[in-house]
């Protein structure tokens, strides 16, 4: 039932994001992350991390958001499975843009743009 709990947290988190309640969404993804780790399911772990990133971003917590989106890249790197990276690069760049660091944002957008052509 750990997997079921994980899935229900991810689902609830996504629904809260859709309904513009990022604080509630954060709570669900925060529960999901350790469950995914426990199951050693890196695909769902990336989804939880992305959800946490998106939840922080919607609250204007851009530094925290960058931390979580970077977690997606780290997991991809360790598992040599790049799904979700293009979106993570784009989201990190969006955060740096909000923080006024256009130089760093540009570098991440370059990686995002490289990813647009690929399927992932």
């Amino acid at each position: 039932p750990v997997r079921e709990e994980l899935m229900s947290c991810l689902k609830a988190g996504k629904r809260w994001l859709r309904e513009q309640k990022p604080v509630n969404a954060f709570r669900e993804f925060e529960k999901a992350l350790p469950l995914a780790k426990q199951l050693k399911d890196t695909v769902e772990e990336k989804k939880a991390a992305r959800g946490l990133g998106a939840s922080c971003q919607r609250q204007g917590k851009y530094k925290d958001a960058i931390k979580y989106h970077t977690m997606v890249l780290t997991i991809s790197h360790m598992t040599r499975e790049s799904s979700g990276n293009t979106e993570a690069y784009g989201a990190i760049a969006d955060c740096y843009t909000e923080l006024g660091d256009l130089e760093t944002a540009g570098k991440f957008y370059d990686k995002y743009i490289d990813g647009l052509e690929q399927d992932d």
Binding site: A93, T97, L102, D110, Y112, I113, L116, E117, D119
Partner: protein, 88 residues
């Protein structure tokens, strides 16, 4: 570097269209959709948007060394802002 905020706005604009169309579609498809197919539909929506954005996004970036490229990049930015109403 001044084109960076436009990249963000164009991304957000396209993502808005993508999620709206995707939700409309998934809503109509109902429960008889397997999890695998649901994921494929989501990938389809992302694939189309990403491939369409690739050209404009690339042309919003220039390394700033070539004066001709910089001018063109700024012109691209202004055109995109007009065409996708990104000023606000």
């Amino acid at each position: 570097l001044e084109t960076v905020p436009t990249i963000k706005k164009l991304r957000a604009y396209a993502e808005g269209i993508r999620t709206a169309e995707l939700e409309k579609c998934l809503g109509k498809m109902g429960e008889d959709l397997t999890k695998k197919n649901r994921k494929l539909v989501e990938e389809l929506s992302r694939g189309i948007v990403n491939k369409l954005l690739h050209g404009p996004m690339q042309h919003l970036r220039s390394d700033g060394t070539d004066a001709r490229t910089v001018t063109e990049t700024i012109e691209n930015m202004h055109a995109l802002e007009r065409m996708f109403d990104l000023k606000a």
